[in-house]
Symmetry: C2
Subunit: 265 residues, 2 copies
């Protein structure tokens, strides 16, 4: 939608449960490839080392640019850090970071590390777009970084988010064992895939009727859905609220499965 | 340039020394008219009451929208306040204000008062453009407004800017009496028109060689130049620096007129 507004044509690349499909990439004819390699949005899939090499080769062969949107690489729980693709090909990759996930979305600051040839065009486009980001916010963030507060902030938050993720994964296993969570090793959300007997839209509506706001994955699909899934963001919800939410969601799904009307609808 | 980047066609409307030319407006075929009625950028011309009525009639007849960019209406020195065109036709006029002139350009906050029918489309466009302005900055500015500090700030600054304007006008009259200043009753800059024997580009270059940064009006013209002019911004320069700058500019212009090489070039 956003791409179309800008006059761009959007082409999807299939993403497996835990990988971008390299074969599909080989057939892709595009000028720009946007990736979220350390935690794919929304599935949480990690781009394998093999796929990282393949996308760089793809970009070189086609004189294309990779936009590496590293939107939530700062929060990892059960895996080693993964190097940025940018390091493999700094002349091909525009690396994008943001403070939206680590600090707060309302802060509105992000950054790009660009190939030399793109620095001037991007600076000119930024000037036309908004004449630059707020100066006080930039100075404040620079001070926060320089004094080491940003690193301390991340270290403080990592166990908080890990505990919320653990509570969510445990509650799902206990109450909704046939949902299959993926992308749980990092980030601030996970996707739980639905078994075939559950319709995504019906589950989202039944959850809402039980007072649980959970998003379906359908709006983020480029190709038609093959399997339903729910996106659970856990960054701003306490562990007890997470457990209560999954209890209510389990009630809603039980209602759907019993075929009766939703008890609270 | 900016308009062309956005795929829009730019059409100029002639602006007299102190008025928009209403006759030219009648022949104008456009969907949107952008005006800076309280202090035209860059000439400082004020849109007369007659012209205000005429632009509203023009917009109604053509089902067009007026964007009223009231970028520096807060600073007036020798004239009564002028009502916004928005008040004449709230259904036709998008009123735009900014904190860039009253506080600091790096603050990057502005606001729009829109006709009802444009609120939703503008909100959607803002979301696509940047997902909204920084929240902390908005809350800070709201608090500054609510506690009356913004009004106090304007009252404190008005005499400061007035003194700088007076110093500039006096220095021009004393050292460069054949330059004709306009737009001096309001705002934070003035335009001084050059007599026919002085070429704008040569004056700007000679001034630069004397250590004086002054902008020509040519880059802001839509139609070919008929007369040269210099834009003097005085908001961030002390009175003594203003006087020193005009002294140096007078030297530069004297050098041009004597036909010799610039003494410091």
């Amino acid at each position: 939608l956003h791409a179309a507004t800008l006059g761009l044509e959007l082409i999807g690349v299939p993403v497996g449960a835990d990988r971008v499909e390299v074969d599909a990439l080989q057939r892709l004819d595009a000028d720009v490839l946007v990736l979220t390699p350390s935690h794919q949005w929304p599935t949480g899939a990690v781009l394998s080392a093999e796929a990282r090499t393949a996308v760089v080769e793809w970009a070189r062969a086609r004189d294309a640019v990779i936009i590496e949107d590293d939107y939530d690489a700062e929060f990892r729980y059960d895996r080693a850090p993964i190097g940025a693709i940018h390091g493999l090909a700094p002349d091909r990759v525009a690396y994008a970071g943001t403070a939206s996930k680590t600090l707060v979305p309302g802060f509105r600051l992000g950054w790009l590390v660009l190939p030399d040839a793109l620095v001037e065009p991007f600076a000119a486009a930024k000037l036309v777009a908004d004449r630059g980001s707020p100066v006080l916010d930039q100075l404040t963030f620079a001070d926060f970084l320089r004094r080491g507060e940003f690193d301390r902030h991340l270290r403080r938050l990592r166990p908080v988010y890990r505990a919320r993720r653990d509570a969510l994964v445990a509650a799902l296993a206990q109450r909704l064992g046939d949902l299959r969570p993926t992308g749980i090793a990092a980030g601030l959300h996970l996707v739980a895939w639905l078994p075939d007997d559950l319709d995504e839209t019906e589950v989202v509506q039944a959850a809402r009727a039980h007072g649980v706001a959970v998003a379906g994955i359908e709006p983020y699909r480029v190709a038609p859905a093959t399997q339903g899934g729910l996106i659970f963001g856990y960054s701003s919800i306490s562990e007890s609220a997470i457990r209560r939410g999954i209890d209510l969601l389990a009630e809603a799904i039980a209602g759907l499965r019993s075929g009766g009307p939703s008890p609270r609808a």
